[in-house]
């Protein structure tokens, strides 16, 4: 064979180089080579290497005799010319018939030589790296995935490309009530609720672009029923193919219904079905725009509801509340909110109204409520005090609007039941001022800015000071001195009285210890501490004991003063608390005695040691009316109790009270309240003067 070839440089390749290459080709164990010659219409194999013989199983001489059409049976009908092209190399994947007759799937690459007569065929069997195998592997993966998900109880989608589905499992078919063939491709999108379709597409598009995502969407079943689901998408990318996704669907219809029920329960009053206070707050907050207007609230409080409850029973009271709720709902406009604020209080919230509109609505409500109804056999005409507030520029929050409405209702109630009141500026200002004062009081208690003054109490026997009464004082940094008659009720109304009481108790004990240190035996023997009715509970004794222990004081150094009115509220429990205190060893006094209408029989069983004669009775002495003071002192004496006369303003009063038999005296004429240090000096001076 004559061999001529050119190197890439164009220079002829030396024969020894050609021989070396040819030798390599002969011995190659990876590449099957055949040389085909075309003579006329006949194409025959004129040379093969060992690998070709090994691959195809023919003896070399058989191969030489074999027409190429038989070796490549799929290229019949003249199609060999498609492979054996004179102008270019051609590669085809096709079956090559082996000596056994079995076709081998091969890649055949035909390279023409320069003469146009010979072609070199390189033959590779299709191996694991071939795309067919890759495709088969991918298909197998897909089939495994399909098999895996087929019986899974979790509805699953597998897209092939974009939104087009290649697989849906039985669970998804069952969920939407359709056969798979209707869901494949883009058919599944018709199962999406039209209002949710955009969100589903949006999320799926995001996932197709990479990443993961989920969306809540309703599916419309073939029977028209709707299921609410969460669809979770995961990105799938097949190299060389494109992007798809796997979607798993969770049917949350039941869970959602349950949660909705829970949410409804959390936001609605179970008795009337009306929105509760929480929902009311959310509703108003959502609609409140500080720069806006037109939002209004109507606050209703049923008049005499307690009478219905007490006289006809709670079930009748509930019937009334349900009927009121029904009337309210049927009276307001469709978009107004009716909420049960609590107890017998209701709130209506209106939007886009002015004061005239909302007052007109309040009047309609009042009329509707007044219609008679029969509860448990009794005719009743419900009536409510109604407060109205329309949002103004002064309202900075939704809470303020509701609070103002509440204030307006109280104004209405104070003005006489069954009224409608629109909150005026003055009332709003007063209410807000009170709120600010409460905040300041809370801060003052926390900072111990509440100071104590001590007023001496004198024995009528020898005129010596034997005790003091602790009196709380509040010096407001801006408003100056605030009277206890103002801030003590404020503390009681706003849950601050316990903290205030503890402060007074602790500071009194500390001061007693300080006086002991400074005055020794001349220190006041006892300090009287006032206790509010609200403090009269199971904790009081513990607090007193704790304060005494903290400061190392004997219980007899304290006298606890409780107003008669506090004892009257719940006599049984008050007595129990007093017994605990007596057992502890502290003294007990009834303050303002004679003003609280207490039962004298009951008084006999209280473990008190003294009665304080109210200053109003002492004042009557000057007017020639000593009757009550005389009676109280006589009563105390007969019960073996001490008496302390308060508010002694003159020497004459002191003399008279001493004559009547009072044990102790207390008043401005005798000694004014003083600070701890001043009182120490006063006591020291007084004692030394006596000596």
């Amino acid at each position: 064979m004559t061999v001529r070839a050119n190197a890439p440089t164009g220079q002829p390749v030396p024969p020894d180089v050609m021989a070396a290459v040819f030798h390599t080709a002969i011995l190659s164990d990876r590449m099957a080579l055949l040389v085909v010659e075309v003579v006329g219409r006949r194409r025959t194999v004129v040379w093969t290497n060992d690998k070709a013989v090994e691959l195809l199983g023919y003896a070399p001489e058989d191969l030489s005799a074999l027409p190429l059409e038989q070796l490549l049976p799929s290229l019949g009908g003249g199609e060999l010319r498609l492979l054996l092209r004179r102008e270019r190399a051609v590669q085809m994947t096709l079956p090559v018939r082996s000596a056994s007759g079995a076709p081998l799937e091969c890649i055949v690459r035909a390279n023409p030589d320069q003469t146009g007569r010979l072609w070199t065929l390189r033959v590779f069997t299709v191996d694991a790296g071939d795309q067919r195998v890759s495709r088969a592997t991918a298909d197998a993966h897909e089939r495994r995935f399909a098999t895996l998900t087929e019986r899974s109880p979790i509805p699953t989608l597998l897209s092939e490309q974009g939104m087009r589905l290649a697989h849906v499992n039985d669970a998804f078919c069952a969920l939407v009530g359709q056969q798979a063939e209707h869901l494949l491709g883009t058919g599944w999108l018709t199962s999406m609720h039209p209002d949710d379709l955009d969100a589903v597409l949006e999320q799926a598009a995001t996932v197709l672009d990479g990443g993961e995502g989920e969306v809540q969407a309703r599916l419309v079943r073939a029977d028209g029923t709707v299921r609410t689901t969460v669809i979770r998408f995961a990105h799938l990318f097949t190299p060389g193919v494109g992007a798809g996704f796997v979607g798993t669907i969770e049917d949350i219809t039941e869970r959602l219904a349950f949660e909705t029920r829970l949410a409804h329960q959390a936001h609605h009053d179970p008795l009337t079905g009306l929105p509760n206070r929480t929902l009311l707050a959310e509703h108003v907050t959502e609609r409140f725009d500080p720069a806006g207007s037109g939002l209004a609230c109507i606050f209703l409080d049923l008049d005499n509801f307690k009478v219905v409850n007490d006289s006809l029973g709670h079930a009748a009271g509930d019937d009334l509340l349900v009927e009121v709720a029904t009337r309210l709902r049927s009276t307001v406009r469709p978009h107004d909110l009716v909420a049960r604020f609590g107890g017998d209080e209701f709130v209506v919230v209106c939007e886009d109204v002015d004061e005239a509109d909302v007052v007109a609505l309040a009047e309609r409500i009042g009329e509707a409520l007044r219609r008679p109804l029969r509860i448990r056999g009794v005719d009743h005409r419900p009536q409510a005090s109604i407060g109205v507030t329309v949002q103004t520029g002064e309202h900075v929050s939704a809470e303020e609007l509701i609070r103002d409405c509440d204030i307006a209702m109280y104004q209405a109630k104070a003005g006489g039941r069954g009224r409608i009141t629109v909150l005026d500026h003055l009332a709003r200002a007063q209410a807000r001022d009170k709120l600010r004062l409460v905040a300041d009081l809370r801060a003052a208690i926390e900072a111990r800015d509440i100071t104590l003054l001590y007023q001496p109490i004198f024995s009528t026997q020898d005129g010596t000071p034997v005790a003091v009464e602790s009196l709380a004082r509040w010096e407001h940094p801006e408003r100056g001195a605030i009277s206890p008659s103002t801030f003590v009720p404020l503390a009681e109304e706003n849950g601050l009285v316990s903290a205030l009481g503890l402060l007074v108790l602790d500071e009194t004990c500390r001061q007693l210890v300080e006086w002991d240190r400074v005055l020794g035996e001349d220190a006041p023997a006892r300090a009287n501490v006032n206790v509010s009715a609200l403090q009269l509970d199971g904790n009081l004794c513990g607090h007193v004991e704790s304060a005494l222990q903290r400061h190392g004081l004997a219980p007899r150094r304290l006298s606890v003063e409780i107003t008669e009115s506090a004892l009257v509220k719940d006599p049984a429990s008050a007595r129990a608390v007093l017994l605990q205190l007596r057992d502890l060893g502290v003294e007990l006094a009834i303050d303002d005695f004679g003003t609280g209408y207490s039962s004298l029989a009951y008084l006999r069983h209280l473990p008190v040691t003294s009665l304080k004669v109210d200053r109003s009775f002492v004042a009557e002495l000057a007017d020639g009316h000593p009757e009550i003071t005389t009676a109280v002192i006589a009563l105390a004496r007969s019960l073996n109790l001490h008496t302390v006369a308060e508010g002694v303003e003159t020497a004459e009063q002191a003399a008279e009270l001493t004559r009547l038999g009072a044990t102790y005296l207390q008043g401005f004429s005798l000694a004014e309240p003083m600070g701890g240090d001043v009182l120490a000096a006063w006591f020291a001076g007084r004692r030394s003067a006596l000596r």
């Binding site: 009908g77 290649a166 193919v241």
Partner: protein, 299 residues
């Protein structure tokens, strides 16, 4: 738009091809016009020259076939051909892919429609199949219906719908080539042989190769996956699922597009994979999508 390369070879080279099977010859009409100057070598050579004339499309065809090809890489090449890029975007937003206008970037469009589809569209541009004036009258009507029918039926044959869609879109590439080189003769041949099998036989007799085989050669030459070439090559192989899919899809396309189409029972064509009772659903689905697919591809 660039026309297909003109072949101007002086001699009739058909005798170099083997004679068609005699049985098929018997099916041929005797009135067929004389075969033109037709050189299959030149037709095949023209496949190479097309690539030279449409370098961007050719590059896309090449890049899309690379194992490591990424959507980013492919979209970067695609961006050089504004018309083609627009078609890919349009197709990605078509009802077929269900994206409803959510595809706004070319890269995302490539991932949505898939690399094979991008490659198919590039091939359409490469071979001037988007110039309908050069094509048989019903070319795209048949091609879009064929593609959608193939995609719809693919799962029954174990094929991927997306690959089947692309095979369907390109299957008639050989028809375009034959028509271009022998417009009158091919028109006459088509008219005389409206049936798919008869037409293939007539094509072999007249040109030495049938149109689908010619398509397969072109696609193989451009490096399309063997799995896409095989159904074209095996269209007459009753044992081949891919061949069966293509035969059945052609039958459904014929029923939808061709007047006077003589029905061939689909259970026979499909090897029992499709029953006549299931045909209506597929036909409705194909009919509903065909117009939009055509607009996306050619618009």
């Amino acid at each position: 738009m660039t026309a297909l390369p003109q072949f101007n070879l002086p001699q009739f080279d058909l005798p170099l091809l083997d004679q068609p099977h005699t049985a098929r010859r018997a099916d041929m009409p005797t009135t067929l016009a004389a075969a033109p100057v037709f050189d299959i070598e030149a037709v095949l050579a023209s496949i190479d020259s097309m690539a030279a004339q449409k370098p961007v499309a050719a590059q896309i065809v090449s890049v899309a076939n690379a194992d490591g090809a990424s959507a980013k890489e492919l979209s970067a090449v695609l961006a050089s051909d504004v018309t083609l890029a627009g078609r890919v975007l349009k197709l990605s937003n078509s009802a077929y892919f269900g994206m409803r206008g959510r595809v706004t970037s070319l890269q995302f469009a490539v991932t949505v429609v898939g690399f094979t589809t991008v490659r198919t569209m590039a091939t359409v541009a490469l071979t001037d199949l988007d110039d309908e004036s050069q094509l048989p009258e019903d070319f795209w009507d048949v091609s879009t219906h064929l593609a959608l029918a193939a995609a719809a039926l693919a799962p029954r044959f174990g094929e991927r719908p997306q690959d089947a869609l692309c095979i369907g879109l390109l299957a008639q590439l050989g028809v375009a080539l034959l028509h271009h080189n022998d417009p009158e003769g091919y028109a006459e041949l088509s008219a005389a042989q409206p049936g798919a099998a008869g037409r293939r036989a007539a094509e072999v007799q007249r040109y030495g190769i049938h149109a689908l085989r010619l398509t397969s050669v072109a696609l193989e030459q451009w490096g399309f996956p063997h799995t896409m070439v095989l159904p074209l090559r095996e269209v007459d192989d009753l044992g081949s699922p891919g061949g069966g899919l293509l035969r059945t899809a052609f039958e459904l396309a014929g029923r939808l597009c061709l007047d006077g189409h003589e029905k061939v029972p689909v259970p026979v064509l499909s090897g029992g994979r499709l029953a006549e009772r299931d045909v209506t659903t597929v036909l409705e689905s194909v009919r509903a999508q065909a117009d939009e697919l055509r607009r996306a591809l050619l618009g």
